[in-house]
Structures are given as structure tokens and as C-alpha cells.
Amino acid sequence: MTSPPPPSGHIARNARLGIVLFVVYVIIYAGFVALAAFAPSVMAREIAGVNVAIVYGLALIVLALVLAIVYMLLCRDDADRAEDVAR
């Protein structure tokens, strides 16, 4: 199999970071889907006059942006760019 050289250094590190953040989001998203499907009474509860369904839904949208910014800040780029050129 003619595979490209395995990702190394910053590319691999960034990829691992991406997977960790991805798993965090998947768990929270799965929690939302599970609550909607199996615990609708929880979704109907109100937090400060707004029900859990709305709060959780809005939180999922905001969380996506928060994780995206965290990822962008933690990724290391300089070496990554050099590796791109080298390839």
C-alpha cells in the first residue's frame, strides 16, 4: 500500500486535539438527542422561565463555536505549515 508518510509533529498533535474535542461534543449532542427521545418530561422543565429543550439547543450551538475557538487557539501552526510545504 503506497500510503503517505504518517502525520507527525504538529499535524498529529492537532489531529489528536481535534478528536478529543469532537468526542466531547458528540457526547453532549447524544445527550440532547437521548433526552428528546426518551425523557421528554425533562425537556419540558423550565429554567428561569425557558424550557430545557430551548436552553440545551441554544447551548449546543454556542458550544460548537466555543470548542471551535478553543481548537483554533490550541492548534500549533508554524511547523505544520512547513510540513505542508515539505510534502
Binding site: M1, P40, G49, G57, L65, A68
Partner: protein
């Protein structure tokens, strides 16, 4: 519901189209090479590309369909907003950077970077075509839905106008002009929706009709059809028409709506009098709309039966997995210069798209309580423009024209994806026909023309579907066909070329077959009873996405020793 053509709307729209085409022709006179045509020379800055992601992704379905669905069924439309945005997490954390490193113009390039196999190229190109055409249908339906109120022309005319304008954009400068159209459209859409949301909050809720005046209606002509979304009480005891909560903050808005009482209409053909439709008012507390399960698409979520719930879970998985499998989104990664720009532009995309989806909640609920909902089947796609109309003719004209421009941006991206699949993947890499740059770009333009014509025909055929529902289908097919191949190529070293090829074919064909055998297809396409449908629930993703992964693993293990270097 009768609509009168608005001359301001026509003027605004002609103005937008004029600008868009002007830019296209200007850029078209400078972009001649294949790299320019397919990937905008790879020189688009990350910020512009990020906003263009929003312009590419926020389709007519997002704008018209979601607002309509929230306006009529409440929370269920917002489920789409959540799922559509969540899909970007997959794009950012898993797909964006590798696909940029591996590919040149199309995602078939990336899939095939390791293997150089014709089988993969063919499968990926066909799946790009199928997904793009599937996604084009709702865009065209959206264009037709807008055309009647905006220009006073029939549905098919809207479809043809969008088709022709988009073909001019794509044929002049390919990805260069497509990018700028998407950038302009993305910015306009987000900014004007934000302004409209501020206007909704500033108005608050107000009583739009007297409960005593709402009686069943027997409608024989469009002008008899009553407006839905009438507010008969805002929960403070004062039910006089015009009574208002005054300006509300975003949180107050979401709190107060629970106390608002809204009247919608159920329509039924009058058996005794052909041609007459009976409209019956249904008054509900808006709180009842604020939970999942109000619409027919998601009603299974409230059913005690597990199989009914699976339909909901399946769609949420398809939306999550589908975004990063959409060819017209993936080709945007080739318009930036490197993986770092790919990442940054995805973050900009998530910010603008996420902000927009939060706005959809307010726009949808604003439409629900606007007193101006069209209760006919095609009316759900009109909820947002009609909401704008309650603020005056100019907002209506602007929002309608922006919605029309919205269709242009997304359709351009889709047609670009399809034309790359044929001219770059099929012609050059599969049939090993290596034309010179001009001929290759020429072939891409001819493909664009053919796909455009097919899309116009289908857009007329499917005009009674809610556009969001159709987009949900496209996500199912994209996720089933492309995601297993993309993910396994990146994360499983034993993946073989046969495994990838088989996974794409099986995922694509199984999800398509499932959709065509599902209840909604029976009702809306074949005009048969939904209970006769063979597919147990309507959204295939839950079954066909894992199926793609399983097929890939099994076939890869079986063909391991054959996967030697060429």
C-alpha cells in the same frame, strides 16, 4: 392567499442580480485556467472563505424551510438548526485539514490520493452528482416558492430565473464568481436576519385578532383563505386587538412566548362541495409548540414505540454526519491556500452559521405570532417573507430578494461540485482523457448547463414538499455514501480501495432506495397510502451510515492482500 407582485421587491432583486452578474462577468474576464475555474486559484482568504461557507451552506432550506417549520410546528424546525450546525463540528475537527492536504479540486481527489484507483473516482464522482442533484431540488423548490409573491410569476418561472442566473454565474468564472456570490449572500443574509430579529424583539408580542371574530371558513378561492399565526392573548388579561407586551429582550421573548395563545388553521377539502376547502381554527398555548414532536416529521419522538423514535434519532445522526459529506461544502476547502486557512475559515463559518441559526429561532417564533401565516401547503416556505411584510413593504422586498440571492449562492456551489465531478473526476481521471485546460473548463461548463437543466425540471416536479424536509433527505444520502469512506481513509490503516468503492456504492444506493420506499415518498410522489411503505421509518441514516462502515471494513479485510502498490 393572494399575492400581489411588489414593485420594490422586483427592483431590489434586479439590483442584487445585476451586482452579482456584474461581478461574475468582471471576474470571468480574468479567470481562465482550470485551477481558477475549479478552485478560484486557491487564493481566497480565510475570512472571505469562511463567510462564503455560510453563503454556500445557508440555503433556501435553512432560511425559508426552518422559519416556516418553526412558525407552524414550533421546536421541530429548531431541531434542524441544531443538527445542521452540529455537523460543522465533524467538518472542523475531523475532515477539514486532511482533506485540504490530500486533494486538489474535488473530494474524490482526496479519497483517491492514496490509491489512484478508477473505481474510487467513479464511485465518488457519481455520489457527488447524486447528492448535488438531490440537494438542488429543494433549492429550486424554494426559488419557485418565492417567485409568486415576489415577482407575481408562477412557480416554474422562479425555477427558470434562478436556473438561468446561476448558469451565467457558473459559466463565466466558475469557483471565483461562485465564491464572491456566496460571500455577498452570506453577509447579506446574516445581517438582514439580525436586523429583522431586532425588529421582532422591539415589537414584542401583540394581540393580532379578536378571538370572537375567528370562525371556520369555507374557502372557494385564494382570497378567502384566512391568515394563520393570529395571537388572541398575550397572557396579561388584556385581549384587545393591538394590546402589546412592548419591547422584549431575547430571553424575555423566549419566556413570554409561553403565555401567548396562537390560532392556526387546519385545512380539509369539503367532500360535499368540490373546489371548496374548509379551514377550522385551532387555538393553542404557544408553550405547547416549544417542545420536540409537534410536526409530522418528528411526531414519532412522542410515541411510546421505539421504532417511531428511531426516525428522529436517525435524522439527528444524518444531519450531524451529513454536513462534512456534502460535496459542495468540501470543494470550498480547495479555494484556500493551506490546511491552516482551511481550519480558520471553518471557524469563521461556524461563527456566522451558528449566529444565523440562533436567529432562526426568533424569526420562526416571530412568524408564528405575526398574524400573517399562509396556511396552504406551499405557505410554510413563505413564513419568513410574510413576517417581514408585517414590518412594511421594504423589509419584505429586501428579505425576499435576499432569499432569492440565497438560492443563487447555494445553487452555484452545487452546480460547481457537479461540474467538477464530471469534468475533473470522470473525464480526466477515469477515462484518462487529458484535454488542455480550455477544453477541460469547457467540459465543466457544459456539465454545469446539463445539471442546471435537470435541476430546473426536478424543481418544478417537487414543488409541494417543505424544502427543509427534502434537504434532510440529501443529508442522509451524503452521510451514507461519503462519510464512511472519508473517516475510515483517515483513521483506519487497513482500508483498501475496494473497501472505499464498495462503501460509497452501498451507502448511496441503500439510502436512496430506503428514501424512495419510505412513507413520505409514497404520499407525496406516488400518491399512495403511507402505511403501505416498505421502509419502517422515513430517515435511513441510522441504518445506512453504519452499513457503509460495515461494508467498508468487511470488503477491506477481504481484499487486503490485493492492495499492493501499483
Amino acid at each position: 392567499m393572494t399575492y400581489h407582485a411588489s414593485s420594490i421587491a422586483v427592483a431590489v432583486f434586479v439590483f442584487f442580480v445585476g451586482i452579482v452578474l456584474g461581478i461574475s462577468f468582471y471576474l470571468g474576464s480574468r479567470a481562465r485556467s482550470a485551477k481558477g475555474y475549479f478552485a478560484a486559484h486557491g487564493q481566497i482568504g480565510w475570512f472571505v472563505n469562511g463567510v462564503a461557507f455560510a453563503g454556500d451552506y445557508l440555503s433556501a432550506a435553512s432560511f425559508l424551510g426552518i422559519c416556516g417549520m418553526i412558525a407552524f410546528y414550533g421546536y421541530d424546525g429548531f431541531l434542524y438548526s441544531i443538527g445542521y450546525l452540529a455537523g460543522w463540528i465533524v467538518a472542523l475537527f475531523v475532515i477539514a485539514e486532511p482533506i485540504k492536504r490530500l486533494g486538489k479540486y474535488t473530494f474524490a481527489d482526496a479519497l483517491n490520493a492514496k490509491f489512484n484507483s478508477r473505481g474510487i473516482q467513479v464511485a465518488a464522482a457519481i455520489s457527488t452528482l447524486v447528492v448535488s442533484v438531490f440537494y438542488l431540488i429543494p433549492q429550486m423548490v424554494g426559488a419557485g416558492a418565492l417567485c409568486t409573491p415576489l415577482l407575481g410569476l408562477p412557480h416554474w418561472a422562479g425555477v427558470v430565473i434562478v436556473g438561468v442566473v446561476v448558469l451565467m454565474i457558473v459559466v463565466t468564472a466558475g469557483m471565483v464568481s461562485t465564491t464572491w456570490v456566496q460571500f455577498i449572500k452570506g453577509s447579506l443574509l446574516v445581517i438582514f436576519c439580525a436586523i429583522l430579529t431586532v425588529a421582532i424583539l422591539a415589537r414584542g408580542f401583540r394581540v393580532t385578532a379578536d378571538r370572537a371574530s375567528i370562525k371556520p371558513v369555507a374557502a372557494t378561492q385564494p382570497s378567502d383563505i384566512p391568515f394563520g399565526g393570529q395571537v388572541v392573548s398575550i397572557g396579561n388579561g388584556d385581549n384587545a386587538v393591538g394590546a402589546s407586551t412592548g419591547p422584549l429582550g431575547p430571553v424575555q421573548f423566549l419566556q413570554k412566548i409561553n403565555d401567548v395563545r396562537v390560532v392556526q388553521w387546519t385545512a380539509k377539502a369539503d367532500a360535499a362541495h368540490p373546489g371548496t376547502t374548509l379551514y377550522t381554527p385551532v387555538e393553542k398555548q404557544a408553550r405547547e409548540y416549544m417542545l420536540p414532536g409537534g410536526s409530522s416529521t418528528f411526531k414519532g419522538v412522542r410515541s411510546p414505540k421505539l421504532t417511531d423514535k428511531l426516525d428522529f434519532i436517525s435524522l439527528m445522526i444524518a444531519l450531524f454526519a451529513g454536513t462534512a459529506s456534502l460535496p459542495h461544502i468540501l470543494i470550498r476547502y480547495y479555494t484556500v491556500k493551506d490546511a491552516v486557512s482551511a481550519r480558520k475559515s471553518t471557524v469563521v463559518g461556524i461563527a456566522s452559521i451558528g449566529f444565523f441559526y440562533i436567529l432562526t429561532l426568533f424569526l420562526g417564533l416571530g412568524a408564528m405570532t405575526s398574524g400573517r401565516l399562509d396556511p396552504t401547503p406551499a405557505g410554510s416556505n413563505m413564513a419568513a417573507p410574510l413576517l417581514a411584510k408585517t414590518f412594511g413593504e421594504l423589509p419584505f422586498a429586501l428579505i425576499s430578494a435576499i432569499a432569492f440571492t440565497t438560492v443563487l449562492g447555494t445553487v452555484s456551489g452545487l452546480i460547481m461540485a457537479a461540474s467538477g465531478a464530471v469534468a475533473h473526476d470522470l473525464m480526466e481521471n477515469v477515462f484518462k482523457h487529458h484535454p488542455n485546460e480550455n477544453a477541460k473548463v469547457g467540459a465543466a461548463k457544459w456539465t454545469a448547463l446539463c445539471v442546471g437543466i435537470v435541476a430546473m425540471a426536478l424543481g418544478t416536479l417537487f414543488k409541494d414538499f417543505n424544502v427543509t424536509f427534502l434537504v434532510g433527505w440529501a443529508f442522509n444520502v451524503a452521510a451514507s455514501a461519503n462519510l464512511p469512506a472519508l473517516v475510515m481513509l483517515l483513521f483506519w490503516k487497513r482500508t483498501t480501495k475496494s473497501g472505499i468503492t464498495a462503501a460509497i456504492w452501498v451507502g448511496m444506493l441503500s439510502s436512496l432506495a430506503w428514501l424512495l420506499l419510505s412513507g413520505p415518498a409514497y404520499v407525496n410522489i406516488y400518491k399512495l397510502d403511507a402505511t403501505r411503505a416498505i421502509a419502517p421509518f422515513s430517515q435511513p441514516g441510522l441504518v445506512t451510515i453504519p452499513l457503509g462502515f460495515i461494508v467498508l471494513v468487511i470488503v477491506s479485510l477481504m481484499t487486503r492482500e490485493h492492495a499492493k502498490p501499483h
